[in-house]
């Protein structure tokens, strides 16, 4: 296992574009801290984001894992190109001839995916902890370490997305087309949702119930947007008479749906590779 990770590490280490994207990704995660310094004035009303409680434990776990997940696109590019470059350089052929089995090849890529997600999660944990400890109003240990399931959801979400990218890289073999396919897939899911919601199951919530099984939808369902949970937003909603009653929690069945997708992507990556003549 370590050998496989080491092989992948060596392939990525010397690639300048991969290095730049990975470093940018981690730097951008630390930039979440910059949100704290956002402040603006509306007439007499002075607004400072840091005062809105977004860095309060345990809310900060939710907020940061949601924001950090947006940045996953950077690593997605790295993963798609690390798959498809093996095809365009024909190095996959040479790897197999040199004695790597097809199973080991897919496994080495998936281990890299796990490593990316794991390091991201760990990194986010540290950044969030530091950010929270410096800005949070509550610093009791029990509060600090509550709601940590958001990090688990973040890990599963990233792994799912990266496994999807890995599969697309093998399926399409060209990085630009694979990323294009990803965009097309987003649109397809949206169109299906539109048709289900506004045509077939009009006026019911069946569409949402079906859509939660789609890969990208299931991944985005894991962590619900955190903004409407803010005090200011809640207050504003109350004033105009509406009530926000949203479920912000992490649900085990959603984690399972994404985990199953991960298994499917890895398995079909292997099947594709096994069936293909290189």
């Amino acid at each position: 296992m370590l050998r496989l990770l080491e092989i992948e590490y060596n392939k990525l280490r010397y690639s300048r574009s991969a290095r730049i994207l990975i470093i940018t990704y981690f730097i951008l995660i630390t930039f979440i801290a910059l949100i704290a310094s956002i402040e603006f004035k509306i007439g007499e009303f002075e607004f400072r984001v840091a005062d809105q409680g977004i860095f309060n434990f345990p809310y900060i776990w939710h907020f940061n894992s949601y924001i950090a997940a947006i940045l996953k696109l950077f690593l997605a590019i790295v993963i798609v190109s690390m798959m498809s470059n093996e095809y365009s350089n024909r190095t996959i052929k040479q790897n197999l001839i040199d004695g790597l089995s097809k199973k080991e090849f897919v496994l080495s890529k998936f281990l890299t995916v796990l490593a990316f997600s794991g390091i991201s999660t760990l990194f986010l944990f540290v950044v969030t902890l530091i950010l929270g400890l410096s800005f949070s109003d509550y610093n009791e240990l029990s509060i600090v370490f509550s709601d940590l399931e958001y990090l688990l959801a973040y890990f599963i979400k990233l792994t799912g997305f990266f496994a999807f990218c890995m599969f697309l890289g093998i399926l399409v073999k060209r990085s630009a087309f694979a990323l294009g396919f990803l965009v097309v897939w987003v649109i397809i899911e949206n169109i299906i949702y539109g048709i289900l919601n506004f045509r077939i199951f009009k006026g019911t919530d069946i569409a949402g119930k079906i859509m939660q099984f789609f890969p990208l939808e299931s991944m985005s369902n894991l962590i619900v947007e955190p903004f409407s949970r803010l005090n200011a937003v809640q207050a504003a909603a109350n004033q105009i008479g509406g009530e926000l009653n949203k479920d912000y929690g992490i649900h085990w069945y959603q984690l399972i749906i994404v985990s199953i997708w991960i298994l499917i992507f890895v398995y079909f990556s292997f099947i594709l590779l096994k069936k293909r003549d290189l």
Partner: protein
């Protein structure tokens, strides 16, 4: 003798096309083998199958004693197929170290093998800056990293300039002299003739011959003869019992032998009949002539 690789009715079909048809042969340790065949005859597909990159349709193959999986066996094999494939953004040394990781060999071999192919001074250059000849030599160095039991080369001189071809041949010859088993696929007959002791000839995916280079066709060689009186020469030759077919080309008669005969014998025979020769040469068919004869024979059958 120790068998390194044996193929048993190996078959590959791409849709309706049969690229390799019931191919069986085996590779013994210590010999230098050539796989001969025109372009598109299934050489690369055959190698692809035993090297784990092309899926077989039926039949099977076995590496060594057959007790290990193909990818484990491949760690004891060195192979390059058609193009040299490396990571373009990595240097020669980094690429070879990666191969060491995959094959599970020590990194200390890298410098040694780069020296063999004459690339040691370019070890820190990126692969993408290499010329085709250098890429091909790097591929050979990479194939040698694990001190393989067998070296498989698929068209190693394809697309190289004469100097590059010469360099690669020298390297192959050196490796062969060291006792390494080599399997060389090529459509260049002189290339195979120069380095190989055994050949496997395939055409349209079927095996025509496998065995030592000099026994491809049952032949005792032939004479090339010239004399002032060519008609008399031909008449006399026709009366000789050991001579079969006689053909004329550009003022020279070619007499194919049905039985073994030395040049002195025919010379004495003709002289006793009152004819003296101006030119006499006994030759064996070159690999090219043998190959063409063999492929024609089978075509007629």
């Amino acid at each position: 003798m120790e068998t390194i690789l044996s193929l048993n009715n190996l078959t590959k079909r791409f849709g309706r096309i049969t690229a390799v048809d019931n191919l069986s042969f085996s590779i013994e340790k210590g010999n230098v083998y050539g796989i001969l065949g025109p372009n598109g005859s299934g050489k690369s597909t055959t190698l692809g199958m035993v090297l784990n990159v092309v899926n077989k349709t039926s039949g099977d193959f076995q590496w060594f004693d057959g007790n290990m999986s193909t990818h484990e066996a491949l760690k004891k094999v060195g192979a390059i197929i058609e193009h040299p494939n490396f990571y373009p953004y990595m240097t020669a040394e980094q690429n070879l170290k990666l191969v060491c990781k995959i094959k599970g060999t020590k990194k200390s071999k890298v410098a040694e093998k780069l020296e063999i192919v004459g690339l040691l001074d370019r070890k820190d250059s990126k692969f993408k800056t290499f010329s085709l000849g250098m890429k091909q030599r790097l591929a050979i160095a990479s194939a040698l990293l694990n001190d393989p039991e067998i070296l498989i080369l698929d068209e190693p001189t394809n697309g190289l300039d004469p100097q590059g071809i010469h360099q690669i041949r020298e390297i192959i010859r050196k490796i062969a002299a060291g006792g390494t088993t080599i399997l060389l696929a090529s459509h260049l007959l002189d290339e195979v003739e120069k380095v190989c002791s055994h050949v496997v000839i395939i055409r349209k995916g079927e095996k025509l011959y496998s065995g030592p280079v000099d026994q491809i066709i049952n032949s005792f060689g032939f004479f090339e003869l010239k004399a002032t009186d060519m008609t008399k020469l031909e008449e006399l030759l026709r009366t000789h019992p050991k001579i079969g077919n006689i053909t004329e080309k550009e003022g020279t008669l070619t007499a194919i032998l049905d039985e073994p005969m030395e040049a002195e014998e025919i010379n004495r025979f003709l002289f006793e009949k009152g004819l003296s020769l101006s030119y006499l040469n006994k030759r064996k068919e070159s690999l090219e002539e043998q190959f063409l004869q063999l492929t024609n024979q089978t075509a007629q059958n």
